[in-house]
């Protein structure tokens, strides 16, 4: 069975139901029911017209639901006036769904869940498994999200994505990109490949809206996804960029990412994702780690720092400076960052990976004892097990060398 086809059709079918008069929440529920039904029956009995099947089943579910709700009985009139959906509007419907599901009134976790279900066509169970929460919890998160956006509407007349200053407007492009970035970057486990799903959704978005940052995010995802096979060892431990077997990088994805990025950069409307993708592209460009153009990478980090002013960016910049101008320069860049973040809030929320970066730079500068101590401290503060194991390894490696 072509599960991907099913997922691709999901936002379109929701759009068709909405144009027939269903409200978004009811349409989305009905399509989810049809989806679960399709997953159950299609393997044995595939339909000839997949979209037609989904529309018929979902519409029937929708009618069942409103018939069951006596207070809404009058809506049955809708059955008599089914407008035939025009194919030209399918793209617009999908685009509106992206904006609705990333509405600024939603929390990030709600926006992610709603996007994966309504735009991505995943079932509640699949999403719950992917994010390691009980199915009932995920179902509640999604229905609360739908109640939150209930007043926004998905009618063809409303929700112009980029119309500024409208209090009820759907999320802007930036919020949609933030949601897709979260799906890509914080994907967990389960039977759904969330990174691949994020790429599919971003690709679909890029096809329906002309925006350099959408292209920038797509390029960024492709360039990072290209390294996936080389990024971890069979036991799940991390392989740092410099030590990855670059022969295992996916050159097709790299070529596509670079091409998309170049076209976006040519538009001269630089944004955060394009700058991040440019850095990834420079890494992809180096056949061997030693051939990396760190000077250009530092320049891109300078651009990024101008665009975001994020301490994480400046931390990564310190690493790049260390490679371009030597570890002493890197440590100086780190000291600058420390000085500017030394306030009460920074103390309560220490910058993740700061000790790991410091350890690396000290090792390059030849101070193995300090590096070993900092690696152990970084391991203690690591935000996940894979990083902790990796950093413990680094500490162990240096301590073994330091033993007489």
């Amino acid at each position: 069975m072509d599960e991907l086809l099913l997922r691709r059709l999901t936002p379109r079918v929701i759009g068709i139901l909405v144009r027939r008069g269903a409200d978004f929440a009811a349409a989305e529920d009905a399509v989810q029911d049809a989806l679960v039904e399709a997953l159950r029956t299609w393997p044995a009995d595939p339909p000839r017209d997949a979209q037609g099947w989904l529309v018929t089943v979902a519409w029937r579910r929708f009618l069942d639901a409103i018939r069951a709700d006596s207070a809404r009985r009058r809506r049955e009139d809708l059955v008599e006036s089914e407008p035939a959906p025009g194919p030209a509007t399918a793209v617009d419907d999908t685009l509106r769904l992206y904006f609705l599901c990333a509405h600024p009134s939603l929390t990030p976790s709600s926006a992610v869940a709603l996007t994966l279900r309504a735009v991505g066509g995943l079932t509640t169970r699949q999403i719950a498994r992917a994010y390691l929460v009980p199915e009932a919890t995920m179902a509640q998160r999604i229905s609360r999200a739908k109640r939150t956006v209930a007043g926004v509407g998905l009618s063809p007349a409303g929700a112009e994505p980029d119309a500024p200053g409208r209090p009820d407007r759907a999320g802007d492009v930036a919020t949609v990109l933030r949601v897709l970035y979260l799906v890509f970057n914080e994907g967990y486990s389960g039977d759904v490949d969330l990174a691949a799903e994020a790429i599919r959704l971003t690709r679909q978005l890029a096809a329906s809206i002309d925006h350099p940052e959408v292209a920038g995010l797509l390029a960024l995802m492709l360039l990072h996804h290209a390294r996936r096979a080389a990024r971890t060892q069979p036991d799940g431990s991390l392989v740092p960029l410099a030590e990855q077997d670059r022969g295992r990088w996916d050159t097709t994805l790299i070529a596509e990412g670079v091409q998309i990025l170049q076209a976006a950069l040519a538009r001269d409307r630089l944004g955060e994702f394009q700058a991040q993708a440019a850095i990834a592209a420079l890494h992809a460009d180096a056949q061997r780690a030693e051939e990396t153009d760190w000077v250009q990478i530092v320049e891109w980090y300078d651009e990024l720092a101008r665009l975001t002013d994020s301490p994480v960016v400046r931390l990564n910049r310190a690493v790049a400076v260390g490679e371009a101008d030597g570890p002493r320069a890197g440590l100086a860049a780190l000291a600058e960052l420390d000085a500017s973040t030394r306030d009460s809030s920074a103390k309560a929320h220490p910058l993740p990976r700061r000790e790991a970066v410091a350890a690396y730079l000290h090792e390059r500068a030849g101070d193995l004892a300090t590096a070993a101590r900092l690696y152990a401290e970084a391991a203690h503060r690591a935000p996940n097990l894979a990083e902790r194991t990796h950093l413990t390894h680094q500490a162990a490696r240096l301590n073994a060398r330091l033993r007489p």
Binding site: G236, S237, Y375, A379, T392, A396
Partner: protein
């Protein structure tokens, strides 16, 4: 079937026999330890006895309610806290003896010199639902 929580402590447990901090092991010994932990969980999944396992970051915060309309009071982390949980594993097994057996296996995870750590783990039975038939 009965569920048990296996608790691993950063602090608060009696010292293990093979008591060398992990960053003083060789890299190969670190790898062997990680592999052992991974294999242990996989094996329990295969026997149908694994429920859940998570690691916890060492830094925690104490929090309490401070009255209507006031932000929560926070304190800590306290360096002197006697007991600090590092992580847990939940198992669902047929008997207390089986739970002891599995905890002992986990405690034998290899450490420095490739020798078992003999780490002390805390085994805590879950309070279960009341049975239907009581007489």
């Amino acid at each position: 079937m009965a569920k048990y929580l296996l608790l691993k402590h950063y602090r608060g447990a009696p010292a293990p026999v093979n008591n060398v901090p992990m960053d003083q092991w060789t890299p190969a010994e670190v790898s062997a330890h990680v592999q052992f932990m991974h294999d242990f969980a996989v094996r329990l999944e295969e026997t149908g006895e694994y429920v859940d396992g998570q690691g916890l970051a060492p830094e925690g915060t104490w929090v309490r309610y401070d009255g209507e309309g006031r932000p929560p009071v926070t304190d800590g982390p306290f360096a002197e806290t006697k007991d600090l949980i590092a992580g847990w594993m939940v198992i669902d097994v047929d008997s207390y003896e089986r739970a002891l057996e599995l905890a002992a296996e986990l405690s034998a995870a290899p450490g420095a010199g490739g020798e078992p750590i003999h780490e002390w783990l805390e085994l805590r039975p879950f309070l279960s639902a009341p049975p239907t038939i009581t007489e």
